[in-house]
Protein backbone atom coordinates (compact mmCIF):
# COMPACT_ATOMS: atom_id res chain seq x y z
CA UNK A 1 0.00 0.00 0.00
CA UNK A 2 1.43 3.36 -0.98
CA UNK A 3 1.16 6.33 1.36
CA UNK A 4 -0.08 9.69 0.20
CA UNK A 5 2.75 12.22 -0.12
CA UNK A 6 1.75 14.18 2.99
CA UNK A 7 1.71 11.08 5.23
CA UNK A 8 4.92 9.80 3.73
CA UNK A 9 6.61 13.12 4.38
CA UNK A 10 5.36 13.21 7.99
CA UNK A 11 6.65 9.71 8.64
CA UNK A 12 9.94 10.51 7.00
CA UNK A 13 10.43 13.35 9.47
CA UNK A 14 9.44 11.50 12.61
CA UNK A 15 12.94 11.57 14.16
CA UNK A 16 13.42 7.96 15.30
CA UNK A 17 14.75 6.98 18.69
CA UNK A 18 16.23 3.49 18.91
CA UNK A 19 18.21 1.46 21.40
CA UNK A 20 20.58 -1.42 20.80
CA UNK A 21 22.63 -3.90 22.74
CA UNK A 22 26.13 -3.83 21.36
CA UNK A 23 28.46 -6.77 21.89
CA UNK A 24 32.03 -5.53 21.43
CA UNK A 25 34.97 -7.59 20.30
CA UNK A 26 37.04 -8.88 23.23
CA UNK A 27 38.80 -6.05 25.07
CA UNK A 28 37.28 -3.35 22.88
CA UNK A 29 34.42 -2.23 25.12
CA UNK A 30 35.94 1.02 26.38
CA UNK A 31 37.40 2.29 23.08
CA UNK A 32 34.24 1.25 21.26
CA UNK A 33 32.10 3.17 23.76
CA UNK A 34 34.23 6.24 23.16
CA UNK A 35 33.96 5.81 19.40
CA UNK A 36 30.17 5.38 19.52
CA UNK A 37 29.73 8.45 21.71
CA UNK A 38 31.66 10.45 19.15
CA UNK A 39 29.04 9.66 16.49
CA UNK A 40 26.30 12.25 16.05
CA UNK A 41 23.05 11.18 17.68
CA UNK A 42 24.63 8.31 19.63
CA UNK A 43 24.65 7.88 23.40
CA UNK A 44 26.61 4.79 24.43
CA UNK A 45 26.83 3.38 27.96
CA UNK A 46 29.18 0.52 28.80
CA UNK A 47 28.14 -2.11 31.31
CA UNK A 48 30.07 -2.18 34.56
CA UNK A 49 31.48 -5.59 33.63
CA UNK A 50 32.70 -4.25 30.24
CA UNK A 51 30.99 -7.05 28.34
CA UNK A 52 28.35 -5.10 26.46
CA UNK A 53 27.19 -1.61 25.62
CA UNK A 54 23.75 -0.03 25.51
CA UNK A 55 23.44 2.36 22.61
CA UNK A 56 20.61 4.89 22.27
CA UNK A 57 20.33 6.70 18.96
CA UNK A 58 18.37 9.80 18.07
CA UNK A 59 18.31 10.92 14.46
CA UNK A 60 16.40 13.48 12.43
CA UNK A 61 14.77 11.10 9.95
CA UNK A 62 14.41 7.46 9.08
CA UNK A 63 16.86 7.89 6.25
CA UNK A 64 19.41 9.28 8.68
CA UNK A 65 18.77 6.38 11.05
CA UNK A 66 19.40 3.88 8.25
CA UNK A 67 22.57 5.71 7.35
CA UNK A 68 23.68 5.50 10.98
CA UNK A 69 22.89 1.78 11.07
CA UNK A 70 25.06 1.31 8.00
CA UNK A 71 27.85 3.20 9.73
CA UNK A 72 27.52 0.98 12.79
CA UNK A 73 27.61 -2.14 10.62
CA UNK A 74 30.98 -1.07 9.26
CA UNK A 75 32.63 -0.74 12.69
CA UNK A 76 34.88 -3.81 13.10
CA UNK A 77 34.92 -3.64 16.92
CA UNK A 78 31.20 -4.45 16.99
CA UNK A 79 30.71 -8.20 17.22
CA UNK A 80 26.93 -8.08 17.32
CA UNK A 81 24.32 -5.34 17.23
CA UNK A 82 20.80 -6.11 18.47
CA UNK A 83 17.98 -3.57 18.34
CA UNK A 84 15.76 -3.58 21.42
CA UNK A 85 13.62 -0.50 20.90
CA UNK A 86 12.39 1.79 18.15
CA UNK A 87 10.07 4.69 18.67
CA UNK A 88 6.68 3.99 17.14
CA UNK A 89 5.28 6.25 14.49
CA UNK A 90 3.48 9.16 16.12
CA UNK A 91 -0.28 8.69 15.88
CA UNK A 92 -2.04 10.37 13.01
CA UNK A 93 -4.25 13.30 14.03
CA UNK A 94 -7.42 11.34 13.32
CA UNK A 95 -6.25 8.58 15.69
CA UNK A 96 -6.16 11.05 18.57
CA UNK A 97 -9.90 11.57 18.44
CA UNK A 98 -11.70 9.65 21.21
CA UNK A 99 -13.67 6.71 19.92
CA UNK A 100 -17.25 6.60 21.15
CA UNK A 101 -18.59 3.24 22.21
CA UNK A 102 -22.27 3.55 21.40
CA UNK A 103 -23.14 0.54 23.52
CA UNK A 104 -22.01 2.37 26.64
CA UNK A 105 -23.96 5.51 25.90
CA UNK A 106 -27.24 6.04 27.80
Amino acid sequence: MSLNPETAQRREHKMPICSYIVYPQAGQCVPLTTRLNALTGCDATAAENRELIVLVTETNSQAEEKELQATLARIPDIQCLAMTFEQVTPPEPEMLKPKMNKELLP
Binding site: M15, I17, C18, S19, Y20, I21, D43, T45, A46, A47, E48, N49, E51, L52, V54, L55, V56, E58, A82, T84, F85, Q87
Partner: protein, 184 residues
Amino acid sequence: MNSNLITRREFMKKTAFASAVATAASLTPGVTFASWGRVDGDTNDLQWKKTPCRFCGVGCGLLVGVTQGRAVAAKGDPDSPVNKVLCCAKGYHSVLALYGKDRIKKAMIRKNGALIEVPMSEALDLVASKMKETIDQYGKDAVAFYGSGQWTIPDGYVASKLMKGAIGTNNLEATTRVYAWPAP
Protein backbone atom coordinates in the same frame (compact mmCIF):
# COMPACT_ATOMS: atom_id res chain seq x y z
CA MET B 1 5.65 24.86 35.71
CA ASN B 2 7.36 21.95 37.41
CA SER B 3 11.06 22.16 36.61
CA ASN B 4 11.37 18.38 36.99
CA LEU B 5 9.29 17.71 33.89
CA ILE B 6 11.17 16.19 30.97
CA THR B 7 10.37 16.53 27.31
CA ARG B 8 8.70 13.76 25.34
CA ARG B 9 11.95 13.15 23.47
CA GLU B 10 13.88 12.78 26.72
CA PHE B 11 11.25 10.40 28.03
CA MET B 12 11.45 8.30 24.86
CA LYS B 13 15.23 8.14 25.10
CA LYS B 14 15.07 7.02 28.72
CA THR B 15 12.49 4.42 27.74
CA ALA B 16 14.74 3.22 24.92
CA PHE B 17 17.63 2.92 27.35
CA ALA B 18 15.50 1.09 29.92
CA SER B 19 14.33 -1.33 27.25
CA ALA B 20 17.90 -2.19 26.30
CA VAL B 21 18.97 -2.54 29.93
CA ALA B 22 16.04 -4.87 30.66
CA THR B 23 16.95 -7.00 27.67
CA ALA B 24 20.62 -7.04 28.67
CA ALA B 25 19.69 -8.07 32.21
CA SER B 26 17.70 -11.01 30.91
CA LEU B 27 20.57 -12.10 28.69
CA THR B 28 23.34 -11.44 31.20
CA PRO B 29 22.01 -11.65 34.78
CA GLY B 30 23.71 -9.23 37.14
CA VAL B 31 24.83 -6.78 34.46
CA THR B 32 24.67 -3.17 35.65
CA PHE B 33 24.85 0.21 33.98
CA ALA B 34 25.40 2.35 37.02
CA SER B 35 27.27 5.09 35.22
CA TRP B 36 24.12 6.20 33.43
CA GLY B 37 22.54 9.12 35.26
CA ARG B 38 25.54 9.50 37.54
CA VAL B 39 26.07 13.08 36.47
CA ASP B 40 24.95 15.68 38.99
CA GLY B 41 21.95 17.64 37.88
CA ASP B 42 21.05 15.02 35.30
CA THR B 43 17.36 15.67 35.87
CA ASN B 44 17.28 19.44 36.05
CA ASP B 45 17.74 20.50 39.67
CA LEU B 46 18.02 16.98 41.13
CA GLN B 47 21.46 16.53 42.63
CA TRP B 48 22.91 13.22 43.81
CA LYS B 49 24.80 13.44 47.09
CA LYS B 50 27.11 10.76 48.44
CA THR B 51 26.43 9.39 51.89
CA PRO B 52 26.76 6.15 53.85
CA CYS B 53 23.51 4.29 54.46
CA ARG B 54 22.50 4.69 58.09
CA PHE B 55 20.22 1.71 58.46
CA CYS B 56 22.75 -0.81 59.71
CA GLY B 57 26.43 -1.27 60.34
CA VAL B 58 27.43 -2.62 56.92
CA GLY B 59 28.21 0.86 55.60
CA CYS B 60 26.79 0.72 52.09
CA GLY B 61 27.38 3.72 49.85
CA LEU B 62 24.28 5.64 48.85
CA LEU B 63 23.54 8.43 46.42
CA VAL B 64 20.65 10.50 47.71
CA GLY B 65 18.75 12.64 45.24
CA VAL B 66 18.12 16.10 46.66
CA THR B 67 15.92 18.76 45.15
CA GLN B 68 14.86 22.04 46.71
CA GLY B 69 16.46 21.08 50.02
CA ARG B 70 14.54 17.82 50.28
CA ALA B 71 15.78 14.25 49.84
CA VAL B 72 13.50 12.55 47.32
CA ALA B 73 15.32 9.41 46.12
CA ALA B 74 18.08 6.97 46.99
CA LYS B 75 20.18 4.58 44.93
CA GLY B 76 23.35 2.59 45.46
CA ASP B 77 26.69 4.24 44.88
CA PRO B 78 28.46 2.46 41.99
CA ASP B 79 31.82 3.62 43.37
CA SER B 80 31.26 2.06 46.80
CA PRO B 81 33.46 -1.02 47.35
CA VAL B 82 30.99 -2.20 50.01
CA ASN B 83 27.76 -2.61 48.07
CA LYS B 84 28.86 -1.97 44.47
CA VAL B 85 25.69 -0.13 43.42
CA LEU B 86 23.22 -2.54 45.02
CA CYS B 87 21.17 -1.79 48.14
CA CYS B 88 18.78 -3.75 50.30
CA ALA B 89 15.13 -2.79 50.60
CA LYS B 90 15.84 -0.62 53.63
CA GLY B 91 18.53 1.30 51.81
CA TYR B 92 16.39 1.98 48.77
CA HIS B 93 13.58 3.27 51.00
CA SER B 94 15.75 5.06 53.53
CA VAL B 95 14.59 8.49 52.43
CA LEU B 96 11.09 7.69 53.66
CA ALA B 97 12.36 7.50 57.23
CA LEU B 98 13.30 11.16 57.11
CA TYR B 99 9.74 12.29 56.64
CA GLY B 100 7.77 9.66 58.55
CA LYS B 101 4.76 11.15 60.33
CA ASP B 102 5.52 9.10 63.43
CA ARG B 103 9.17 10.08 63.60
CA ILE B 104 10.10 11.26 67.10
CA LYS B 105 11.82 14.62 66.80
CA LYS B 106 11.58 15.92 70.38
CA ALA B 107 11.92 14.51 73.88
CA MET B 108 8.70 13.16 75.33
CA ILE B 109 7.76 11.80 78.75
CA ARG B 110 4.64 9.85 79.58
CA LYS B 111 2.66 11.72 82.21
CA ASN B 112 -0.71 10.45 83.41
CA GLY B 113 -0.83 7.99 80.53
CA ALA B 114 -0.11 10.50 77.78
CA LEU B 115 3.15 11.41 76.05
CA ILE B 116 4.02 15.02 76.79
CA GLU B 117 6.69 17.03 74.97
CA VAL B 118 9.37 18.19 77.40
CA PRO B 119 12.79 19.84 77.20
CA MET B 120 15.63 17.42 76.44
CA SER B 121 17.28 18.27 79.78
CA GLU B 122 14.18 17.13 81.66
CA ALA B 123 14.04 13.85 79.75
CA LEU B 124 17.74 13.16 80.35
CA ASP B 125 17.40 13.96 84.05
CA LEU B 126 14.55 11.46 84.29
CA VAL B 127 16.58 8.74 82.54
CA ALA B 128 19.59 9.44 84.78
CA SER B 129 17.53 9.30 87.97
CA LYS B 130 15.84 6.04 86.92
CA MET B 131 19.18 4.47 86.01
CA LYS B 132 20.73 5.54 89.31
CA GLU B 133 17.76 4.18 91.23
CA THR B 134 18.00 0.82 89.42
CA ILE B 135 21.80 0.56 89.83
CA ASP B 136 21.54 1.36 93.56
CA GLN B 137 18.96 -1.34 94.03
CA TYR B 138 20.13 -4.12 91.63
CA GLY B 139 23.69 -3.31 90.52
CA LYS B 140 25.40 -2.00 87.36
CA ASP B 141 24.34 -4.87 85.12
CA ALA B 142 20.68 -4.14 85.75
CA VAL B 143 20.77 -1.29 83.25
CA ALA B 144 21.42 -1.28 79.50
CA PHE B 145 21.73 1.12 76.59
CA TYR B 146 20.17 0.35 73.21
CA GLY B 147 21.10 2.78 70.47
CA SER B 148 19.80 3.74 67.09
CA GLY B 149 20.75 2.43 63.68
CA GLN B 150 21.18 6.07 62.75
CA TRP B 151 24.02 6.51 65.21
CA THR B 152 27.18 8.10 63.92
CA ILE B 153 30.58 6.69 64.89
CA PRO B 154 31.04 9.46 67.52
CA ASP B 155 27.57 8.72 68.90
CA GLY B 156 28.54 5.09 69.45
CA TYR B 157 31.88 6.07 70.91
CA VAL B 158 30.29 8.38 73.48
CA ALA B 159 27.68 5.75 74.39
CA SER B 160 30.44 3.19 74.87
CA LYS B 161 32.33 5.58 77.14
CA LEU B 162 29.19 6.23 79.17
CA MET B 163 28.17 2.59 79.67
CA LYS B 164 31.56 0.88 79.93
CA GLY B 165 33.63 3.70 81.38
CA ALA B 166 31.20 5.59 83.59
CA ILE B 167 28.46 3.10 84.48
CA GLY B 168 30.68 -0.01 84.37
CA THR B 169 28.60 -2.48 82.37
CA ASN B 170 28.90 -4.14 78.98
CA ASN B 171 25.16 -3.89 78.40
CA LEU B 172 25.46 -1.80 75.27
CA GLU B 173 23.93 -2.64 71.91
CA ALA B 174 22.50 -0.88 68.90
CA THR B 175 20.58 -1.50 65.75
CA THR B 176 23.80 -0.56 64.02
CA ARG B 177 25.06 -4.06 64.78
CA VAL B 178 21.88 -6.03 65.26
CA TYR B 179 21.27 -5.73 61.57
CA ALA B 180 17.95 -7.42 61.03
CA TRP B 181 16.17 -5.56 63.76
CA PRO B 182 14.03 -2.65 62.63
CA ALA B 183 15.73 0.68 62.96
CA PRO B 184 14.04 3.05 65.40
